[in-house]
């Protein structure tokens, strides 16, 4: 019998959809006449905009063009979530993460797997898994991107990601440069070909939040005495963390709790405070 998704997974999906709708509404709002100045440009609602404009704000009191003080409030909200729960923003709130989850599910269906049995390895042709030796190194790219953006932001006028931001490409409805169109196509294709490609390899916000998985108040614990190394958790992990029982505090974990929901042995994978 097919095991169904748990209540927690369904709540997560609805929460993700809620934030996607909210982001679409923010993008649509900026198309209305006279609406754009209220709250600022679409970029002003982005938490990463707060990081991009931080240096300029601290040194001059101004913000980069298209960003404003609202970016800091959104960034503070994301940091607050991360302080309590690690990278749960990526797993529960980020609209780009949600779209990548959806594209991966579509890729599975389009390549012949209508219903993936819970905890079993996917037999679909897509999304493909990059071999672990290469995957391990590719994951460092996002830290390089973050470092590069921090350096460039000290001399920038616009946020460095302004013309290549996938959130702007998808949600802002302002395709004022062909580059944004290319970014959108690359984002969709990469998400179809590989689960959460952007999160794992490219996202500078995820790179910045990674450290919170080591210091967050709430963390995932696995009772190694109970664990049978059945790999059900690894088969469900949306960011393909290898050897999960040994890597519960991995900086790659997006705290989606799919491992916790998939584990078939009671009281083996749990959430702990402190």
């Amino acid at each position: 019998m097919m095991q169904k998704k748990s209540d927690l997974s369904i709540i997560r999906r609805w929460m993700q959809i809620g934030f996607v709708i909210l982001t679409f509404l923010i993008g649509l709002r900026h198309l209305l006449p006279g609406e754009s100045p209220k709250g600022g440009a679409f970029d002003a609602f982005c938490p990463f905009g707060g990081i991009e404009t931080m240096w300029v704000y601290l040194t001059t009191g101004d913000t980069l063009l298209t960003t404003n003080l609202l970016n800091f409030s959104v960034l503070l909200a994301v940091l607050g979530v991360s302080l309590f729960t690690g990278r749960a923003f990526c797993g529960w709130i980020c609209p780009l993460g949600t779209l990548q989850d959806m594209f991966a599910a579509w890729a599975r269906r389009l390549s012949g797997e209508k219903n993936k049995p819970l905890g079993k390895k996917s037999q679909a042709r897509f999304p493909v898994q990059i071999i672990p030796q290469i995957d391990k190194w590719l994951r460092y790219i996002k830290y390089l991107i973050l470092g590069l953006i921090l350096i460039v932001s000290t001399k920038a006028i616009y946020p460095p990601l302004h013309d290549i931001c996938p959130a702007r490409a998808i949600f802002s409805f302002h395709w004022d440069t062909p580059l944004l169109g290319i970014v959108m196509v690359v984002f969709v294709l990469s998400s179809l070909l590989n689960k959460r490609f952007s999160c794992k390899y490219l996202c500078p916000l995820g790179a910045g939040l990674a450290i919170f998985n080591k210091v967050s108040l709430i963390h995932i614990d696995i009772d190694k005495h109970n664990c049978t190394n059945c790999a059900r958790c690894e088969n469900e992990c949306p960011v393909d963390i290898p050897a999960i029982p040994e890597n519960t505090q991995s900086t790659e974990c997006i705290r989606c709790l799919e491992c916790l929901e998939t584990c078939s042995i009671p009281d083996t994978v749990d959430l702990h405070l402190g």
């Binding site: 929460m15 003080l69 960034l75 994301v78 749960a88 709430i218 959430l271």
Partner: protein, 32 residues
């Protein structure tokens, strides 16, 4: 201390909203 997993979504949502409001209340709001 073990935490009931059912509370996790509420912790995420409440933390996001509370910290956003704190940011806005401390002056990190658009001036328009």
């Amino acid at each position: 201390m073990k935490i009931n997993k059912e509370f996790f979504p509420y912790i995420v949502l409440v933390a996001f909203i509370v910290f956003f409001i704190v940011g806005m209340a401390t002056g990190f709001a658009p001036s328009h």
